[in-house]
Subunit: 399 residues, 4 copies
């Protein structure tokens, strides 16, 4: 029986050429799998047909938007995941979503190989290959762009020679990846890190400098999950979509940074993630109100490690699973409402209320209702500071 | 010989009353010490005279602005110190500055006691007392507001009875602390955490929503120290002052949060720190360009612990000293220029350049100059992911 | 109705006196609660009767040995909990066990207060009071030894005056606390930290220097739980008891250290914990075989923080709960057998086998069966080391 | 001019064959560099001559024993470095020592390449290549055993064909690496992890089970450096050598573990490190006496990360340098004497004394000299536990 390759198919030049290229190199049949993670752009049916036209024996389009929102974006929100304290892991979250779909498709279609179109210097190759290896160690991975000399010039030549239905001249000056959680732009004139971004490169967000009226929103969370916006119940996907629109209209969620890639180099990245940034900002403040101090302090380190792991392609890994168990417990009390003003590029929390609040007006107030027993403080300070005080006294004597 | 008390003197009602109150309780002479850490407000000479008028035997005004900037704000900048990832430690940095001045004054004036006017539910009492205990374990600390029943009503009665030169009716609805690194506002209607801040409470920053032209600034750092702004050499103090003005004029640096106090309660705090936020934002991005990935990852945890320690009053402590040694080494390569746009409440980095840059265009580019050897990636991924892959494969078999 | 106090009762002088002392001070009735956590010593019925003879209106003896083993020692084993990398938290684990029993008894007997006999410089007062406050914030805590002047001399006078059935002359030169997880000895000549311990102070362990034959044991774990010894099924309590006996007979588990107390001082402590040390040693090595590298690395930090929290009296706390969730997940694959030789004070692992083993002979071997693809290493090293290599090259140029 | 290769030369089969093999493959001249890091075994002059006999144009023997002890073992001692809490990094410390010597030799002898004889599945290849890349990015690295098909069979054939002066039949059943800091044994029947080690494989240590008299030793440290043994001044090297002898004679320092290699596999390792274990054990306890609690707690995490970095071949890296700065500061007060009994496989601390001691008898004692103010404890507990208490109370209400 002819072997089969499941190919992660985007509809673009590289993966369209991969269909014939891999077939030629391996003699295998190609099953193209295009995942809809909310990237917008071309109609998914057009993409599906293009794969067939390029020679795939099967072409499948999967609507993974809810799956992506619920099982990948939501854990990231529970972690308040921001790689390098800034980047909400846009591409890093979609890759394991796609990996799982590819592996499932390989099982269903009897494939023994999985192919992807990543180059050899990005993070995504790692996310694909470590993920596939974790879920299905028996599947062989093919990466023709990286491993079998499929350069852009060769790809164009291949496409023209075979009359593939792709416009080989259509080439963005940027490399772009987008999904419902956000949008990443890189390369082009951005590779000079002294150059500022220009307005042209943005798509999910309006110019924050344009005068407009602010938008006030109330987000309701239940155990870390956004469950309502302005009182209307929402799914996770709906929450992201609505906030992408509303926060995006206010220019919220633009990021421009130099980033540490897993493969050892630094790269310049511009991101837009209006919904993700609005949600994370809101939830962080709700945590300030509902999560106990020592848990909150420790959780920051957990969030950082979680973000690094997922950025590094280790979504499917034992440490990730154990950190998720920690985060599930830590998010249990994160319920309540956050009121937020979206305006001029900023998402600013202005109010918080929660049945789970640990903020106690009677302990905090300096007014008449004060119930805090100040006589306790002297003893606290004496013992809290004792180990430092003794040590610093010793060191002072040594000087 | 009569014993002496060095009193941390602000010129306000509480510490003015403390002069006579402590004298009455202890029979000691009071040496008032007022520290100028850039808080602005009343003329320091007026404050100096008021202490004498209230009964102090000596009244000293110390200009600690450069000391504060160089020895307290600068280490905080080297740490990118943001407590709870947001608060730049405004009050937490001034307290150890003042503690050191108080201890020095106690030595100079032969005092055996040090007094402060803090209440028993804030962080500052801890910062004063742990700090004094660390630097001078022999000095006794007096805290009349907390420990000897000096309530506000009693203070007013005491002031009126003795005709102290203080306007006892002047009472801000808020509790405010400010210095050159920032400004903190609390209590009043802010104690209801569902209430948003109103424009009135701000002083260091203009309304970010007011339309105005953006301001572009280039900050030059040398080993983590800001040494020039727009090419003009600056001291640390000058850098903060200029950026307070320019970033403040654009509404940059407002914060509104519920915060975990050391004494175990949560409190609502509003901050303004335009210069601090602009400097930290700039330096973080310069670190993205100049600091190696693993060091950068570890440093984030160090910054968090540093911020907690300093917030918790442990400025003078062995762990703080050891973290400073780490940070000094980590900041060594953080040199170069950051270009930043200040506008509408945001400080946005738009360019970075550095002799110490680890961003290598030739490794990062996808253009013809690319020198990255992509053939290395396959082996990297294979071994990098192996431990996870084996473990996840085991776990899949167990299911 | 007369108020009631539930008193943590040990049968010794201090808590016996507390019965009458608290009654005299508060007018309340005393319900004595003695918990059996495997401390051995006096018959629990004798202790029960003594409380009545000292004036308690109710006297309850609770056999908490299984509860202590299953719900306190076992989580500690899952954490491999060793405070300061050495101390297996003997007393720190029994206190929350007792706290929970006291609170349950208070509910059952309608008490509004809980009393304990701790002094003001140890860790146990914190464990009692923070624990009670967490489980039952409404219960008032009484600590007469610390707070109402009940010194030893006054306690003896009180006992003699009232003819309490206690031998007031019986005083160990040491302060001792023991339970099934181990035994702690402090004070006396040990307070001079240059003095070595003498053989007399030990009770759970034989002299390791005495020549004897070694004992070989095989411990079977299932998901971190010891389930069999030498093939015989055991409960957690039975596992500890058997290993206390067998490892104790070989002198295993003695510790002598200077320890950082929560109240800010350092103290000298001698411990014996043969069963605990044998179990932790065995499980650590089983983890080496069954836990993935990155999870294992992170877990070490979790274990340390867990140990600090529990030592510091924060058993009942949100961070502890979240760390437990992490540890539960991390222990899932820790199943298999560990063979261990107990001899001359050492518990030495000599063999490990597990269905969950991640040790793969075919990858590890240098023999003919080797399946490790060495050609992958070059690429791995190139990219793994790249960020360091670039940074060190930069730094070398700067010199 | 003919190119030159500096070859890390051990005198064994593999590196002896490398001389001719590399010459044949590259046409380059070989400069053999043999480093004496205290491995003992063959006379270094014999090894030097052998390289020449095998075709090297230069053969250099470097006595790096003091360099190794002072600049590699000592920083490890300052870190109390134990990878996976057990392994004192024997080979991981010698590799950067040798790397630095190779790079220096390459500069001196005009070499453009460096060669090593490591296989592709161990850690040492990483340590060599990342280290060389960090110190001298321009030098090309050759690894013929891994990259150019130099299997053992081919090496033997090559040696016999060219009559190289090596006994090709001499093959230990184990793979052994040793230096003054310790000795590593792997492979052979140890690859079955259920097999216990046999007495034959040990060389640095006597059988701990053999009855003998204990040995008592007093080690004096100054800022973390061992400076005297039993009152006699020692260099770092002398300290290690003497303790290797004395602790080794008592069977101290044997380790048997399954270890996580950097290349992703688990391997079974047996180590002997009597001097290292004795020194680290002594210094850890001296730290318990002289290092402040919060610094000590943080330092444990630093030690773990330091050990992982060095194990992973990142000795020459920015994070390692910054951690060293932390450790240097943390070790400053670690001065004083530790008395220790070496016996039956155990190094047991029995006494500690130090001018820098933070153990304060008057605070710790329960005797009459007690100066600890117990009245402070109530307030301490109240505020220390408040955040947990409030949160647990909330959670109890939710149930």
């Amino acid at each position: 029986m002819t072997e089969r390759v499941v190919l992660a198919y985007s509809g673009g030049l590289d993966t369209s050429v991969c269909i014939g290229w891999i077939a030629a190199q391996t003699g295998a049949e190609i099953v193209a799998v295009a995942a809809d993670v909310g990237q917008g752009g071309e109609d998914m049916d057009v993409i599906r047909q293009r794969a067939l036209d390029c020679g795939a024996v099967e072409s499948i389009v999967l609507d993974l938007k809810d799956e992506f929102a619920n099982n990948y974006c939501l854990p990231a929100l529970k972690a308040n995941a921001l790689y390098m304290e800034r980047y909400p892991l846009v591409s890093a979250l979609s890759r394991p979503t796609i990996v799982k779909a590819l592996v499932d498709a390989a099982r269903e279609h009897g494939a023994s190989m999985v192919g992807h179109g990543c180059t050899g210097k990005g993070n995504d190759q790692v996310r694909f290959e470590v993920g596939i290896g974790a879920l299905a160690p028996d599947l062989k991975v093919l990466a023709p762009v990286r491993d079998s000399g499929m350069t852009r010039d060769k790809a164009i030549a291949f496409a023209e020679e075979r009359n593939l239905p792709i416009d080989v001249n259509k080439k963005s000056p940027y490399s772009i990846d987008q999904n419902v959680w956000g949008r990443a732009v890189e390369t082009g004139f951005l590779e000079d890190v002294w150059n500022g971004p220009i307005e042209d490169i943005y798509s999910y967000t309006q110019n924050p400098a344009t005068p407009r009226d602010p938008d006030e929103v109330v987000i309701t969370f239940a155990s870390g999950v956004p469950v309502a916006i302005d009182g209307r119940p929402v799914t996770m996907l709906e929450a992201i979509v609505e906030l992408n629109k509303r926060a995006g209209a206010q220019g919220v969620g633009r990021l421009d940074m130099v980033e540490d890639r897993l493969v050892g180099i630094k790269s310049r990245e511009v991101y837009e993630a209006p919904g993700a940034i609005a949600l994370i900002t809101a939830k962080q403040e709700l945590e300030n109100v509902t999560v106990e101090r020592e848990l909150a302090r420790y959780k920051r380190g957990v969030s950082q490690r979680w973000s690094e792991l997922v950025y590094d392609g280790l979504w499917f890994s034992p440490l990730k699973n154990a950190l998720d168990a920690f985060l599930e417990e830590a998010n249990a009390p994160v319920s309540g409402d956050i009121r937020m003003t979206l305006h001029a590029g900023r998402a600013v929390v202005t109010g918080r209320r929660s049945d789970q609040s640990l903020y106690d007006y009677n302990l905090a107030t300096y007014d008449a209702e004060d119930t805090f027993d100040q006589s306790m403080a002297k003893g606290f300070i004496e013992l809290f500071g004792m180990s430092s005080r003794i040590a610093m006294g010793r060191d002072a004597r040594n000087k």
